[in-house]
Amino acid sequence: MQKEINVKVNGKEHLVKVECRTLLIHMLRDDLGLTGAHIGCVVGKCGACTVLWEGRQVKSCMVFAVQTSGSEILTIEGLAQNGHLHPLQQAFWDLDAAECGYCTPGMIMAAYGFLQKHQNPSDSEIKHAISGNLCRCTGYHNIVKAIKKAAGELEERENHG
């Protein structure tokens, strides 16, 4: 059963033909070529597929593409602006918050959504926010530090326009 849907991804409109059972992650990766979101576990536990759907962090392996018709999605590819990394991406780089990098896009998207709504988060608030994102390499330490650093960066930008 096929459906044609229109969906805005990273600010760009797309018209895509999908099956009703096509998962959002597969539409993003296979139909739109946006392979930043990763498939880690397939069962909805690891969070490597996390994207923002209408501003909310969701696991794109647990959403059908057809559900997103007429709405907006933000993936990791949509963060950098004019060749400049988003503070989260920069902080992950600066503080070695990625090792194999597999969990990283999902981790950053989860953090991005969180920082949109929370200023000056504590470590425990950050950990609560990324509890749906598994990392097998880093032990999370540098990830939390990077998110904290990015939060500070974003707050400064907010304050100094």
């Binding site: 059963m1 998962l23 536990k45 909310r56 696991k59 647990m62 926010a129 749906g132």
Partner: protein, 292 residues
Amino acid sequence: MYPVEFEYLQPSNLQEAVKLLQQRGEDARILAGGQSLIPLMKLRLARPRYLIDLNGVSGLNYIKKENGHLLIGALTRHAEIEASSLVRQEVPLMHEAVRVLGDLQVRNLGTLGGAIAEADPAGDWGPVILALNAKIRCVGPGRERDVEARDFFTFAYSTALQTGELVREIAVPLPRQPNLGTYMKLELVAGDFAVAGAALQADIDKDGICADIGIGLSGAGECPMKASSVETMLRGQKLTSAMIERAGWKVQEVSNPIADLRGSPAYKKEVLKIVFCRALKHLVEMRAQVST
């Protein structure tokens, strides 16, 4: 890990959704948050031929206080319940429980109505609404009815909902003051269902006597369980350490956990006693800190 092919239906109002559900019967499933259904479909444990997406139906997402109750629409997201200051103030048990339900992403999409209708034996909302003696408002073809939480969960992943019926609202009687509610859960990993969990809402007087108590258990059986006999045992009793301990043993006695990846029945019984006793002790301590 692809679901079996299905037809995707998008009703624009509740009547249409009920009609579709009734017409398609066993071949249809409701899509609310999808955080339990979609994984089941991917594993092909659920194979609906029709998926009725309820997310286009307005008027099912709200949290309001009315007539001594907290009314929550079935499509209200866990995240919205977590963020609600009304919930935090009026029914802190719900706030505590939703914070440990799933993870951030699951809470963004998952709904209260969907979670309750899924009736997971290790789910978090089941025990909470059992402890609170909530009413589940169901709508079906040509009728609406209220089902008491204690009658709602019938079997593993099964509820009292009949063909064509869906959950419309959950009505929670506002607890009396001082508001003593807590949810204690053991999970193997962050974001998991419970190995075992205990939801308690109690009425304790200044002398430490339990006037009333509601107890819901997760992981204690094939479905979320109301520990009615433990409630009866505790009513009118002074909550001494010895009494709490005795109640803990009773919890073990009445529970009948299923063996699964999270543990053996013996292990779960052990955990149930511990989380229950800790939760009850916590309420006693909370009460002691209230001045009157």
